[in-house]
Symmetry: C2
Subunit: 344 residues, 2 copies
């Protein structure tokens, strides 16, 4: 077996896949997902920057060696899962599509481009069909929000959404998760919290600053939730506002959602719709202290939904409040990307 490739007995149809950014927090989860979901692989190529070249990683019990990503890397590759940052995605787009390879990109580079579908398989699988070589994975907080919100929108017509997020350190990758642990240890030892991966201290703190500020006062992360929601639900009529906040949690994002619908909807009706929705687990039994929490969502591909209640600030049962939690690295990134590959 060649370095950097794992082969598998050919199934009815199997694919050559490359993971670009294989050693990053999301890349590692992408590889795990391909393994766990028994993705029909003809070969697997692990690509990263020269810094990580030669690193060994295990896949289906075999040791694979990470190769340096170059424009030549994509020859003979069917699907490339990219999670190496927006600039790397931009740099390699042409080489990937020229090689006849489909790029499934986890970065924000192409998400809002008209000829790039933005896909959550539970929300808009049909959009995969019109891709022209690139399919974008939405922003993690948008994915985690839309998996439960899309089925409610289809049933009751979403008019307006106010979201407040509780986002994990993993949103800044492995360095964010490492920083949370290191800084927390330092603070417990009486040392100052030194921020590197984040602008502000993350240990025992929260801050309303994820991605860069826009002229309208929202952050880019907040505007992603607005714009990506509209693109995936195929309507500009849905009004969205949100506040994105980083919290000292390792790898699952939570969100408090306030929803306003065209049609009346009771919490019972919402629970019924959500219980039948793909990718959603209803965890909503407050009497027994059961509601979504990031520690319970971690390691799972599904989004947990609970605290579903009639919004008492809205007339006529048109409003709902709820709380959701989902694994940022899995459903928010790696799992969604592999699901898109499966759709192909």
């Amino acid at each position: 077996m060649r370095e950097g490739k794992a082969t598998k007995p050919t199934m009815s149809k199997s694919y050559s896949v490359a993971v670009a950014g294989a050693t990053g927090a999301v890349g590692v989860e992408m590889i795990k997902m391909l393994e766990q979901r028994n993705f029909p692989l003809q070969s697997l190529k692990l690509l990263a920057s020269s810094r990580s070249t030669g690193k060994k990683m295990t896949f289906r019990g075999e040791e694979l060696t990470v190769e340096e990503m170059t424009e030549a890397s994509f020859k003979g590759v069917d699907i490339a899962l990219f999670s190496a940052g927006a600039s790397i995605s931009r740099q390699f787009r042409q080489a990937v599509t020229d090689a006849g390879c489909v790029m499934i990109d986890n970065s924000s580079a192409f998400r809002m481009e008209d000829d790039v579908p933005l896909v959550v398989p539970e929300v808009n699988p049909e959009d995969v069909k019109w891709h022209k070589g690139v399919i974008a994975n939405p922003n993690c907080s948008t994915i985690i929000m839309l998996v439960p919100v899309a089925p409610l929108h289809r049933a009751f017509g979403l008019k307006r959404l106010v979201a407040s997020t509780y986002q994990a350190a993993s949103g800044a990758g492995a360095k964010g998760m490492d920083e949370l642990l290191r800084q927390t240890r330092d603070v417990l030892d009486g040392k100052p919290a030194e921020p590197h991966a984040f602008v502000d201290p993350i240990a025992f703190n929260v801050f309303p600053h994820i991605d860069v500020f826009q002229p309208n006062g929202y952050t880019k992360e907040e505007m992603k939730m607005v714009n990506e929601t509209r693109k995936m639900l195929h309507t500009d009529a849905i009004r969205v506002s949100c506040t994105c906040v980083r919290v000292p949690v390792q790898r699952a994002h939570s969100e408090a959602l306030n929803l306003e619908f065209e049609k009346p909807v009771t919490p019972e009706q919402a629970r019924e719709v959500l219980a039948a929705a793909p990718g959603v687990i209803v965890v909503d039994d407050p009497a027994n202290n059961r509601y979504p929490m990031p520690i319970d969502a971690s390691g799972h591909g599904e989004v947990l939904v609970g605290r579903i209640r009639q919004d008492i600030s809205q007339p006529g049962q048109t409003g709902l409040d709820m709380f959701v939690a989902g694994d940022q690295l899995l459903k928010g990134a790696a799992y969604n990307a592999v699901q898109i590959a499966e759709l192909l």
Copy 2:
């Protein structure tokens, strides 16, 4: 000097004060506040349960001994600051008022009673006047929300408010703060997170459960924010919904607020009103990474307000989004109680 009392040269007018629950997280801060604000004291009595009797505490450089609280404790006392839980407040109310002493109560015991004013000095100082022996300190998250929201309401007419909170461990007192530190150490050491003060793990986690669940699906904490807001702003027309969430932060609460007004209001107008409002510090310079954070609010009596922006989900400049942070033990409890005592 007698045990448990500190005397001071008589000023124009001075008061005998008792702190009930002196050894609790809020009680300790109440004593610090009386010291820092040079409250005109004739004497200070530190009261607690028999468990803490005999404990020594320092006030203005003198050592005071904690006394066991009995019905006889309030004879000759002018003002009793209570922070020993709702059941203790209920138990001693009669004894306190029979002694001609005014009870300023930090618990939720009497807040919604018609003949008990609920007061934030920056919001509704005039309500102190009609007290009948008891004045209630509002819930911490309500105080931190209303200090900035009340002046905006007066200027632009608040119609609806959606709040999502990021509440610190101190909301469960010293035992909550201790639990956060202990549990965080345990998790970092690879041990399981054992919850005692909270139902759920607080280390590296968040949970949407503060106080008990109500039949409408909201928690009691969330309904306090709804009902106390209406009582203090003297109107039932303001519609409020909120989701209260505990986060692994030591002692300052943060809140993401989405506000809808009768009159149009720009972020600039809101900043002007807030800059002139008592008890508020506008921290709103995203270009230089300046916004409210709990670590910056800790130890301060003022509420920090920032991320002020026009809500893009509302038409015609009638909506604002903002983020606030305030010290739960100070403005959320001890400082507000001492401010009420000063009003008297």
